[in-house]
């Protein structure tokens, strides 16, 4: 019986691994190439201002890609901004933008939530190492 369960777990883990590999081999999250979108209206989310070239031209970093953006607002290096605009000559001409004052707030709010969850979860469940399953504490 226990062998069957481990076989079941192995099969699921294998299928999951195949799914991971499929996504890694056919990436849906890729380096940005603005050239492919010339003339198109695109959105650029959570770009970090990397360098200020002149009064309205900025080099921004999204993931590991660097992109040139023209925007009339004034940003400092390190600001996180989302842009919406049209691509022209490998440059995004911003029409709308949104400055993210606290871009990591969701992350920082999540940390105590994880601890809260772990406390609540393990108040009800405990892991039985011998059988490799979670058991209810009130059933013991």
């Amino acid at each position: 019986m226990r062998k069957n369960i481990w076989l079941f777990r192995f099969c699921l883990a294998f299928v999951l691994l195949l799914l991971f590999l499929q996504c890694a081999r056919n990436p849906i999250i890729t380096e940005m190439d603005l050239g492919e979108h010339s003339g198109e209206k695109i959105a650029l989310y959570f770009a970090e201002v990397y360098e200020k070239e002149d009064m309205s031209t900025y080099i921004v970093k999204v993931g590991e890609s660097k992109v040139k953006v023209v925007c009339n607002d004034n940003f400092e290096e390190g600001d996180v901004v989302s842009f919406n605009g049209i691509v022209h000559n490998n440059t995004l001409i911003s029409e709308k933008h949104h400055i993210h004052r606290h871009p990591d707030s969701a992350f920082y709010l999540s940390i105590p939530a994880v601890f809260l969850f772990l406390i609540v979860f393990f108040r009800v469940w405990e892991f039985d190492l011998k059988n490799g399953i979670f058991l209810r504490r009130d059933k013991k």
């Binding site: 369960i5 079941f8 777990r9 699921l12 883990a13 299928v15 999951l16 799914l19 991971f20 590999l21 499929q22 996504c23 890694a24 056919n26 990436p27 849906i28 999250i29 890729t30 380096e31 940005m32 979108h37 695109i42 959105a43 650029l44 989310y45 959570f46 999204v62 993931g63 590991e64 890609s65 989302s82 949104h98 993210h100 004052r101 606290h102 871009p103 990591d104 707030s105 969701a106 992350f107 709010l109 999540s110 105590p112 939530a113 994880v114 809260l116 969850f117 609540v120 979860f121 009800v124 469940w125 892991f127 490799g132 399953i133 979670f134 058991l135 209810r136 009130d138």
Partner: protein, 163 residues
């Protein structure tokens, strides 16, 4: 994603709405509500295998098919007689997570460079979901859901005391 605090609060409210009384059932729904965000383990691996490779590798954990499979794997670590029930509860929680994420601007992918959303149904369908209803760094969902949960807990306590 909205923060996990919001996801947990919403999952708790869903468990109340479904009239789930047992704490271990409620726990499974809450576990499901944070389940899709396990894809963020890419952060640990990205220095070793590269940013985009790590992100793409773990991305299925935040998609319907990946959630269905990884959820089944997680539930297999519980007593076999409860698998079906726990799996349903876990999927309710995970479904609430994906649904909430669909209302955000595309932050779920962090470095998702452009586009309009998350490919929840990949590899079955390449359709992007996300509606740009609220910015993910907003405190509003956490505050609103936190207040509602506190009010519900107090109300339930008050009703219980006065019963």
């Amino acid at each position: 994603m909205p923060d996990l605090f919001t996801h947990i609060c919403v999952a708790y409210l869903i468990s109340l709405a479904l009239n789930i009384k047992e704490s271990h059932h409620r726990n499974i729904i809450i576990a499901g509500s944070i389940f899709p965000d396990f894809w963020k383990i890419y952060m640990i691996f990205s220095p070793f295998i590269g940013y985009y490779t790590a992100k793409n590798f773990f991305a299925p954990l935040h998609m319907v098919l990946g959630v269905l499979i990884s959820g089944a794997l997680f539930i297999s670590f519980f007593e076999k007689s409860y698998w079906r029930k726990y799996y349903m509860l876990l999927m309710i929680g995970a479904g609430s997570h994906l649904l909430l994420d669909a209302f955000l601007y595309p932050y779920g992918w962090y470095g998702w460079p452009m586009g309009d959303g998350i490919w929840f149904l990949w590899p079955l369908l390449n359709i992007e979901f996300q509606h740009g209803f609220i910015w993910p760094e907003s405190y509003l969902p956490a505050v609103v859901s936190g207040i509602i949960v506190c009010a519900v807990i107090l109300l339930r306590k008050y009703r219980f005391v006065n019963r």
